[in-house]
C-alpha cells in the first residue's frame, strides 16, 4: 500500500524535531495534530497505515501518541530512532508544561485564563471528533464491506460516548468482532 509519494524522516534530528513540533502544537492531546502532520503534511504514513499503527498504539499499555512515535521512530532508525522520537515527544513539552503550571499557580483565579482554557478545550474536543469523521473515508477501501464496518463503528461510538463503557470490554467485543470478520474476508 505504500504509495510512491510517501516519504520518511531524513535523520534522527529530523525525527526529534518533527515530534517536538508535533507535540507542542497538541493542545488538549496530540492526536488530531499527529494525523494532520504525519498523514497530510509530511506524508510519512497513508491514512490506512496511520489507522493500523494507531490500533496497535492504542491497544498497547502506555500513552497512545507516545507509543505511535516510538513505533515510527523504531521503524525508520531502530532503537535510536525510537528514543529520538520519544525524547522529541517528551523533553521540550515537559519543560513547557512545568512552566505553564508555575504560571498557572499565580493566575488560577483569573476569569480570562479560565475562559481561554474553556474555549480551547471545546475546540480540541471538536478537532478529535472531526479527525475520526475524516477517517471514515478509509472504510470504503477496507476489506470489510460497508454493511459490516459501518455498524461496527456505530457500535463503538455508542459504547464509548453514549453507554460510557470502559475501554477493555469495548476492545474485546467490537475490536474482536472486527478482527474475526476481517480474518475471514482476507486471503
Amino acid at each position: 500500500m505504500s504509495g510512491s509519494q510517501l516519504s520518511g524522516p531524513k535523520s534522527l534530528a529530523d525525527l526529534f524535531i518533527s515530534f517536538t513540533l508535533l507535540a507542542l502544537q497538541g493542545f488538549g492531546g496530540v492526536l488530531s495534530v499527529a494525523q494532520r502532520e504525519l498523514v497530510e503534511h509530511k506524508r510519512w504514513l497513508t491514512p490506512e497505515e496511520f489507522l493500523e499503527d494507531w490500533a496497535v498504539a492504542q491497544i498497547m499499555p502506555g500513552p497512545n501518541v507516545v507509543n505511535l512515535s516510538l513505533m515510527l521512530g523504531h521503524r525508520y532508525f531502530g532503537l535510536r530512532g525510537a528514543l529520538a522520537a520519544l525524547a522529541g515527544m517528551l523533553a521540550v513539552p515537559s519543560l513547557v508544561v512545568l512552566a505553564i503550571a508555575t504560571l498557572y499557580m499565580h493566575h488560577s483565579d483569573n476569569a480570562h485564563v479560565a475562559g481561554a482554557l474553556r474555549g480551547m478545550a471545546a475546540v480540541a474536543a471538536g478537532m478529535i471528533a472531526a479527525t475520526g469523521v475524516k477517517m471514515l473515508a478509509t472504510l470504503s477501501r477496507h476489506p470489510l464491506p460497508l454493511w459490516a464496518s459501518v455498524p461496527l463503528t456505530v457500535a463503538g461510538v455508542a459504547a464509548g460516548a453514549w453507554l460510557r463503557l470502559p475501554l477493555l470490554p469495548t476492545l474485546l467485543v467490537v475490536g474482536g468482532l472486527g478482527c474475526w470478520l476481517t480474518y475471514r474476508r482476507i486471503p
Binding site: 507535540a23 507542542l24 488538549g28 492531546g29 488530531s32 489507522l51 490500533a55 496497535v56 498504539a57 492504542q58 491497544i59 498497547m60 499499555p61 502506555g62 500513552p63 507516545v66 516510538l70 523504531h74 532503537l79 520519544l86 515527544m89 517528551l90 513539552p93 515537559s94 513547557v96 508544561v97 512545568l98 503550571a101 498557572y104 488560577s108 475562559g115 482554557l117 474553556r118 474555549g119 478545550a121 471545546a122 475546540v123 471538536g126 478537532m127 471528533a129 475520526g132 469523521v133 478509509t138 472504510l139 470489510l144 461496527l152 463503538g156 461510538v157 459504547a159 464509548g160 460510557r164 475501554l167 477493555l168 472486527g178 478482527c179 474475526w180 470478520l181 476481517t182 480474518y183 482476507i186
Partner: protein, 194 residues
C-alpha cells in the same frame, strides 16, 4: 511558590514511588489516564504526598497545555518534589514517576510492534490491524464527544457545543492550521462568548 504540604521523603520512598508507577505502566492500556483512580488512592489517600487540589490541577493543566496528556504524571512528580521541599526534589520526582510510567509500556510496545512488523504478512497480523480500524475510528469520534460533553448542560452551554461543532467542521472540510482554531477558541473564551 510555596508548597501547600510539607512532607519528608526518604530514599526508599522515592524508590517506592518509582516502582509504583513502574507497575501502573503495565496496566495503562488506553493511556495512563485510565489508572488515575489508583494514582489518587496511592498519592493522596494512602501517603498524603499530594493534596486533592494539586492532584486535580496536575491533570487539568496537562490536558490544556501542549504536549501529550501523559505529562500530567510529570506534573504530579514535580508537585510531590516541591512538597518535599526543593526544586532538586521536584526534578527527582519528575524522573522517578515519568521513567517509571514510561519504561514498561514503551518496552512492550516496541517488542510487540517490531514482532508485528516482522510478521506483517501473516494473515492474523493483517486481520488484527485492519479489523481494529472501525473501532479505532469509533474511539476517536467518541473521545471527542466525551471531551465535548464534560460538565456541560446543553441548555446553558450551547455556545460551547456550537464552538466544538464548528471547529470540527473546519478540521473536517478545510486545511486551516489547527493552532488558528485553538487561538480563536481561546479568544472567544477570554471575551466571555463561550
Amino acid at each position: 511558590m510555596t508548597a501547600p504540604l510539607h512532607i519528608v521523603l526518604a530514599w526508599h520512598d522515592w524508590l517506592d514511588l518509582f516502582f509504583h508507577y513502574f507497575l501502573l505502566s503495565f496496566m495503562s492500556v488506553g493511556g495512563a489516564i485510565s489508572t488515575t483512580a489508583e494514582m489518587h488512592r496511592y498519592l493522596v489517600e494512602q501517603h498524603g504526598w499530594l493534596t486533592q487540589a494539586q492532584f486535580n490541577e496536575s491533570i487539568a493543566i496537562a490536558q490544556a497545555a501542549p504536549g501529550p496528556n501523559i505529562l500530567f504524571v510529570a506534573l504530579m512528580g514535580w508537585n510531590v518534589g516541591l512538597n518535599a521541599g526543593s526544586h532538586a526534589a521536584a526534578v527527582l520526582g519528575v524522573l522517578c514517576m515519568m521513567v517509571g510510567i514510561m519504561l514498561p509500556s514503551s518496552a512492550i510496545t516496541l517488542l510487540a510492534s517490531a514482532w508485528g512488523h516482522r510478521n506483517r504478512e501473516l494473515r492474523a497480523v493483517r486481520a488484527f490491524k485492519q479489523g481494529m480500524v472501525p473501532l479505532v475510528i469509533a474511539l476517536l469520534i467518541s473521545t471527542g464527544i466525551v471531551l465535548g460533553a464534560v460538565n456541560r448542560d446543553p441548555a446553558t452551554d450551547w455556545p460551547l457545543w456550537t464552538l466544538s461543532a464548528v471547529a470540527g467542521l473546519f478540521v473536517w472540510r478545510t486545511r486551516i492550521h489547527l493552532l488558528w482554531l485553538l487561538a480563536t477558541g481561546a479568544l472567544l473564551g477570554i471575551f466571555g462568548f463561550v
